[in-house]
């Protein structure tokens, strides 16, 4: 069964078509990079996947659970990291995690156990007591990823998680999430416009002006180090 199955999804803001007949799937253990330039429709797709709003046309299923027919079952199986930060900066790392755990129905004890587990997983165990405000940008992002794992989702959605981070933090986060897919069998959908975050064995989905232009393994789509040029050529603005 696919972790995420999207079929014929279309969405418009008023008269502006933001997504046009988008279909794709992500398997467990697959790291799928959703590559798209600014305005391609990545955040719109994420909003639909997290049911912030629903599309008139199309179907989304998470681990076989239809998002429209069984929203709660589908939401329980996905973890999300939004493009904009959603931490409570005045609360501690542990409190941020506990709050989210409770929203997902975990008991206090269970949530505390899972919190140390996910912090450990993201190499942040020693920061549990710190205020979120005192973390640097890279660690804030990592905390958001840790939080998204609290309820043990099978699918992890990340919308441009490395924006605004320095090279070292970006590399650390990219490596962590690749590890989650490889070692824990998590299905990952990672939106970005930065080609260097993609490794050769990742799946690449190229989204442009609301349409999927290409889907395939990075190494099959373009030769090593050729992905950037390929992506630029595909998404070039028509000069007219």
């Amino acid at each position: 069964m696919d972790a995420l199955d999207v079929a014929d999804l279309s969405f418009r803001y008023g008269r502006k078509e933001a997504l046009k007949g988008v279909s794709f799937h992500v398997a467990p253990g697959e790291f799928c990079a959703l590559l798209g330039p600014n305005g391609a429709g990545k955040s719109t797709l994420f909003a639909l996947l997290t049911r912030l709003f629903v599309a008139r046309q199309g179907r989304i299923a998470v681990m076989g659970q239809d998002l429209q027919a069984a929203p709660r079952a589908a939401l329980a199986r996905m973890g999300v990291v939004f493009q904009q930060m959603t931490l409570d900066l005045d609360l501690s790392v542990a409190r941020n995690l506990a709050y989210f755990g409770a929203l997902h129905g975990l008991s206090r004890r269970e949530a505390a156990l899972r919190a140390s587990e996910v912090l450990e997983r993201l190499d942040m165990a020693e920061r549990a007591g710190e205020k979120a405000r005192d973390l640097n940008g890279g660690h804030r992002r990592r905390l958001e990823i840790a939080r998204a794992l609290m309820h043990r989702p099978r699918l992890l959605l990340l919308d441009e998680p490395t924006v605004g981070l320095d090279a070292r933090s970006r590399a650390a986060i990219t490596a962590h999430v690749h590890g989650l897919a490889r070692d824990d069998g998590l299905a990952v959908l990672w939106a970005t416009h930065l080609v260097d975050e993609v490794t050769p064995s990742d799946t690449v989905l190229i989204l442009h002006q609301g349409q999927i232009l290409q889907r395939g393994r990075a190494q099959d789509i373009a030769p090593e180090h050729g992905l950037a040029a390929h992506f630029m050529a595909l998404t070039e603005e028509p000069t007219a």
């Binding site: 709660r72 999300v80 939004f82 609360l91 929203l103 129905g105």
Partner: protein, 264 residues
């Protein structure tokens, strides 16, 4: 514990913790009604004579009269402030996160609303305590009776705020909300003058005040402070809450909804 209660506890707990870390905001919110009480009301005491109207059984000073209105004002300001923080994205991120919880949306929004109201109620009690030391003593049991009144009045105002946040995009800033929501709602109510005084200047004004749901919130609180139940006010407040909660849920319905507003 059921997942519903667990989520509620978490949402209320988060609000309480945020409240503890933002004490300046708490104090700032107290200053407004205190200025009205200590400056405005004191100044007008001589100018405004009041006759005996229910629930009062003796002559009262103007300061005593406006206390329930100022309590309601605290609830009103807080409700509008929460609405604005949603519109302004400060809370929108956390709202998104909240709405991905695997629970019905109406329940999550209800808990969120309740959390805001409980913080307002704490402020209302802080205000009543200061008024007490200033010399405005209410029947001791009134402080208990007023709790449910504050709760339902707060929920009503919170639902109005949630509805505004979900639908009206033009509420660009606090000044806009002040001019078009808070001021008319507050001044066209019985918060500052009883209905009969309004009628002396214009029956139209009186009618508007009598229709204003905020008037009913004020009267519900006023009567409760004197251990009386104003059934009519309760009915109107409950009805207004139901209507605006319904509208807010509609506004947050994923099938239409505010959540696809372009973020700045």
């Amino acid at each position: 514990m059921s997942p519903y209660l667990r989520a509620m506890t978490a949402i209320l707990g988060r609000e309480a913790l945020r409240f503890l870390t933002q004490r300046e905001r708490f104090l700032a919110a107290l200053v407004r009604p205190l200025v009205w009480l200590l400056v405005f009301a004191a100044g007008f005491r001589a100018a405004l004579g009041l006759s005996i109207i229910p629930p009062y059984q003796t002559y009262i000073t103007y300061e005593v009269y406006i206390v329930p209105g100022l309590v309601a004002m605290i609830l009103l300001f807080n409700a509008m402030q929460s609405a604005l923080s949603l519109v302004y994205d400060r809370e929108m991120g956390s709202m998104r996160l909240l709405l991905t919880a695997p629970l019905p949306r109406w329940w999550l929004l209800f808990c969120k609303l309740l959390a805001g109201v409980l913080v307002s109620i704490l402020q209302a009690y802080a205000f009543l305590a200061i008024a007490y030391f200033y010399g405005i003593r209410l029947p001791p049991m009134g402080y208990v009776w007023v709790l449910p009144a504050l709760l339902i009045a707060g929920m009503m105002l919170g639902a109005v705020g949630l509805f505004l946040a979900s639908t009206i995009r033009q509420l660009e800033n606090f000044a806009g909300v002040m001019n078009f929501v808070i001021f008319p709602v507050f001044f066209l109510s019985t918060a500052l003058y009883p209905l009969w005084r309004m009628a002396e200047s214009s029956t139209l004004l009186r009618d508007i005040c009598a229709w204003n749901p905020f008037t009913h919130a004020v009267e519900l609180i006023r009567f409760a402070l004197y251990l009386r139940l104003n059934l009519e006010a309760l009915g109107w407040v409950a009805l207004t809450f139901a209507v605006f909660m319904g509208l807010a849920l509609w506004g947050f319905d994923p099938a239409r909804g505010m959540m696809n507003r372009k973020t700045r």
